[in-house]
C-alpha cells in the first residue's frame, strides 16, 4: 500500500511550472504540545514524500490573529494546502501519517475511512 503511486524524483521545482509543487501553511497558536508535534510531523512527512517540491510557512496566530480568517482557520493546528489546488485543510497534530498523505493527495482516499 505504501508503494502504489510512486513519485519519481523530479528536478528542482518551481511553483509556476511544477504541477507537483506543494505550497503549505501550518497554522499554530503558540508553542503548545500539539503545535510542536505538528511541526515535527510535518517536517518528517515533507522530507520523506515531497523532497524539494514544497515550501512551508508556519503562522503563529497568537502573533498574527488577523490571518486566521483568511484561510478559515478554526481548528489548531491546521495545515493548509494552498497548492496544488483544490485547497485542503488538514487538522490535528499530523500524527496519523496515512491521513496526512491522503489529505495531501499523496495517497488515494481509503474507502474504509
Amino acid at each position: 500500500m505504501t508503494h502504489d503511486q510512486p513519485r519519481p524524483e523530479p528536478p528542482l521545482a518551481d511553483p509556476d511550472t511544477d504541477p507537483g509543487y506543494y505550497q503549505l501553511r501550518l497554522y499554530v497558536a503558540g508553542q503548545t504540545v500539539k503545535s510542536l508535534a505538528a511541526m515535527a510531523n510535518l517536517r518528517k512527512i515533507c522530507e520523506e514524500h515531497l523532497a524539494g517540491h514544497f515550501e512551508v510557512m508556519v503562522i503563529d496566530l497568537v502573533e498574527n490573529p488577523q490571518l486566521a480568517a483568511g484561510d478559515q482557520i478554526l481548528a489548531i493546528p491546521t495545515l493548509v494546502r494552498r497548492l496544488p489546488t483544490p485547497l485542503k485543510r488538514i487538522i490535528g497534530d499530523l500524527s496519523n501519517t496515512e491521513r496526512v498523505l491522503v489529505g495531501l493527495d499523496l495517497r488515494p482516499k481509503d474507502t474504509s475511512r
Binding site: 496566530l61 497568537v62 486566521a68 497534530d93 499530523l94
Partner: protein, 563 residues
C-alpha cells in the same frame, strides 16, 4: 447598558432595543453572559441576533461581533439592507464586525489531536479590534457537521462559553430546534443563563410567530408565549398581557355624535375610556353609527383608529359621505386611520399583536373594531383574544367601540364571543318587520354608571345622519315606520278636530257677546233720549213758572196803583 453596580439586587442587563423584548425580559439580556436563542428554521433567530447587535451599536454604544457560521457577510448585508440596516456602514465605523466562518467537511482531513483555538483567536481578534461588548454566534451548531469528533467540540464549546463569560461579553448563541430538546446538539447544556425559544406555528393555515423566555437565571421574566412580528420595521415582540382590572377611570363625558342617542343618557354621552358594544343583525347600520362616533371624536380633535375587517377604508369613507359625514377629510387631517385587513389574513394572536403595535405608534383616543364577529376560531381563543384587546384598550384609557353582527344562530346560543357582559355600554340594534316594511329600532341594554332611558327608539338613516325618533308604543305594541306615521296622522286629525271645536265655541261666545252689547247700547241710547225729553220739559216748566210769577207781580202792581 449600564452595569448597575449601585443596585446589587438586580442582574445587570443589556437592552436589546427590540420593542417588547426588553419588557418581557424586564430590561434585556443578561450582561456578560451568553443567551441561547433557539427555534426552527425561518423563525427569525438571525434577525433577532443581528438586531441585538445593530441596536447595541447604534443605540447603546456597544459595538458587536457577528460570527456567522451560515450566511456570508455579503449575504447578511444584503438581507438586512431590506430592513434599513446599513451593516457595511457600521462595519466601516468600527461598530460592527462580521466574520463568516465556513466549515466544509470535504476540505478537512483530521489527522490527530486538535482544538478550536482558531475560533477563539478569530473571535478574540474581532472583539479586541472594535472593542466589542456584544457577540453573536449564528449558528454555532454548524460546527458539528464539520468535525467528526463531537467530544472535542463539546469540550471546546464549553471552553468558548466560559471564555465569553470571562471576557464579560454579552452573547447571543443561536441554535436550531431539535427533536425532544431545545437545540439539536443540546447547546442548552452549556448556555443556561437565559434561553429564548422562537416558534413559528401554523394553525388552520395561519402562521403565528411566538417568542417565549424559557429561563432567565437570576431574573424574573414574562413567562407567556408572546407573539412577535417581522415586517419592514424589523422585529417587534408584543407583550400582550392582561393588565388586570387596576386601571384609571375617567369621569369625562364624550358625546356620541348622535344627539338623539346622547339624549337617552342622563349624562349626555358616554364616559371616556368606556367600551361600547353595538350589536345588531345585518343592515342595521352598525358601521354607520360607528362612523358617527368616529366623526364626532375627530371633530373634538381626538385621534381615531379603526380596525375594519369587512370593508375597505375607501368604502367606509364613501358610505359615510352618503349620510353627510366626510371621513376622508378626517383621514387627510391625520386624526383618523383605518387599518383594514381580512380576519383570516393572520392568526388571532397576530391580529392582537398588530393592533398592539398600531396602538403604540398611532396613540389613538378612540378605537373602533368593526366587526368583532368576523373573528373566527375556537370560541375560547376568540374570547381570550378580544378580552386581552379590551384590557389593553382600557388600561390605556382608550374609548372603544365594538360592533358585532348578530345572527339568528348567535341570538339563539347567546354568544357574542361572551363579550357583552364585559362591555360598559351595550346598544342593541333591531329591525322590526311589519306591515310589509322593515324598520330599525335601538335600545340601550346597559350603560354602566349612568341612568339611561329604558325606551325603545326608532332610528332612521337620513342624508344628514342617524336620526332618532320616539317610537310609538300603544295597545298594539311598538309601532314603527308607516304604522307609526298612520297613528300619528290619526292623532293629528283628532287634535285638529278638537281645536276646531274650541274655535267654534269661542266664535259663538264672541257673537253672543256682540248681540248683548248691542242691546245694551240701544237701551242706553233710549234712556238718553228719555232723559233729554224730561230735561226739556223741566226747563220749559221752569220758564213758564218764571213768566207766571213775573206776570203775577205785574198784575199786582197794576192793581195796587188802581186802588
Amino acid at each position: 447598558m449600564s452595569p448597575d453596580a449601585t443596585n446589587l439586587g438586580t442582574l445587570p442587563k443589556a437592552p436589546t432595543g427590540i420593542a417588547g423584548l426588553d419588557d418581557v425580559t424586564l430590561g434585556g439580556l443578561p450582561t456578560g453572559r451568553p443567551t441561547l436563542v433557539c427555534g426552527a428554521a425561518g423563525c427569525g433567530k438571525t434577525l433577532l441576533a443581528m438586531t441585538f447587535l445593530v441596536n447595541g451599536a447604534t443605540q447603546f454604544n456597544e459595538p458587536g461581533v457577528f460570527m456567522s457560521f451560515e450566511e456570508r457577510a455579503a449575504d447578511l448585508t444584503a438581507n438586512f439592507a431590506s430592513l434599513g440596516y446599513n451593516l457595511d456602514g457600521l462595519v466601516a465605523e468600527g461598530k460592527l464586525a462580521i466574520d463568516h466562518v465556513r466549515v466544509e467537511r470535504s476540505e478537512i482531513e483530521e489527522t490527530g489531536e486538535y482544538d478550536l483555538e482558531g475560533l477563539f483567536v478569530r473571535l478574540g481578534y474581532a472583539v479586541d479590534r472594535i472593542g466589542a461588548r456584544r457577540v453573536v454566534l449564528d449558528t454555532i451548531e454548524s460546527l458539528f457537521s464539520g468535525f467528526t469528533d463531537p467530544s472535542i467540540l463539546r469540550a471546546e464549546l464549553r471552553r468558548l462559553f466560559g471564555w465569553i463569560k470571562d471576557r464579560g461579553l454579552t452573547a447571543v448563541i443561536t441554535g436550531e430546534r431539535g427533536d425532544g430538546q431545545l437545540t439539536r446538539q443540546g447547546l442548552e447544556e452549556y448556555v443556561s443563563d437565559c434561553v429564548i425559544v422562537l416558534d413559528n406555528r401554523v394553525e388552520q393555515q395561519i402562521t403565528t410567530r411566538r417568542l417565549r423566555v424559557v429561563k432567565y437565571r437570576g431574573s424574573a421574566h414574562g413567562t407567556n408565549e408572546y407573539p412577535f412580528l417581522i415586517d419592514g420595521q424589523g422585529l417587534s415582540v408584543l407583550p400582550v398581557t392582561s393588565s388586570g382590572l387596576l386601571r384609571p377611570v375617567s369621569n369625562e363625558i364624550i358625546p356620541s355624535g348622535i344627539p338623539g342617542l346622547d339624549a337617552m343618557l342622563r349624562t349626555g354621552g358616554f364616559y371616556r375610556g368606556s367600551s361600547i358594544l353595538l350589536s345588531g343583525v345585518a343592515g342595521t347600520g352598525k358601521t354607520t353609527i360607528g362612523s358617527h362616533f368616529v366623526d364626532a371624536a375627530c371633530a373634538r380633535g381626538e385621534r381615531c383608529l379603526c380596525f375594519v375587517f369587512e370593508e375597505g377604508a375607501e368604502e367606509i369613507c364613501r358610505n359615510a359621505l352618503s349620510i353627510g359625514l366626510d371621513l376622508r377629510k378626517r383621514v387627510e387631517s391625520g386624526l383618523l386611520r383605518f387599518e383594514a385587513s381580512r380576519p383570516s389574513l393572520f392568526g388571532l394572536e397576530m391580529h392582537l399583536a398588530r393592533m398592539h403595535r398600531d396602538l403604540d405608534s398611532f396613540k389613538p383616543d378612540m378605537v373602533v373594531l368593526d366587526p368583532i364577529s368576523a373573528f373566527r376560531g375556537p370560541p375560547s381563543e376568540v374570547h381570550a383574544t378580544l378580552l386581552r384587546m379590551l384590557d389593553l384598550l382600557k388600561s390605556r384609557g382608550i374609548t372603544s367601540l365594538f360592533t358585532s353582527l348578530r345572527t339568528e344562530a348567535t341570538e339563539a346560543e347567546g354568544t357574542d364571543h361572551g363579550l357583552s357582559s364585559l362591555m360598559d355600554v351595550w346598544i342593541k340594534l333591531l329591525d322590526i318587520e311589519a306591515n310589509g316594511e322593515r324598520n330599525r329600532i335601538l335600545y340601550l341594554v346597559k350603560s354602566r354608571g349612568m341612568s339611561h332611558s329604558n325606551q325603545v327608539r326608532e332610528y332612521r338613516v337620513t342624508d344628514s345622519g342617524i336620526e332618532l325618533i320616539e317610537a310609538y308604543i300603544g295597545s298594539e305594541g311598538v309601532l314603527t315606520g308607516t304604522a307609526r306615521l298612520t297613528q300619528e296622522a290619526r292623532e293629528r286629525a283628532a287634535a285638529t278636530r278638537r281645536l276646531q271645536e274650541v274655535e267654534r265655541r269661542r266664535r259663538e261666545i264672541a257673537r253672543r257677546r256682540n248681540i248683548l252689547e248691542r242691546q245694551i247700547e240701544e237701551l242706553r241710547a233710549n234712556l238718553e233720549v228719555e232723559e233729554e225729553e224730561a230735561r226739556k220739559l223741566l226747563t220749559e216748566e221752569e220758564a213758564h213758572e218764571t213768566t207766571l210769577s213775573a206776570d203775577r207781580a205785574a198784575v199786582a202792581a197794576r192793581r195796587g196803583a188802581a186802588e
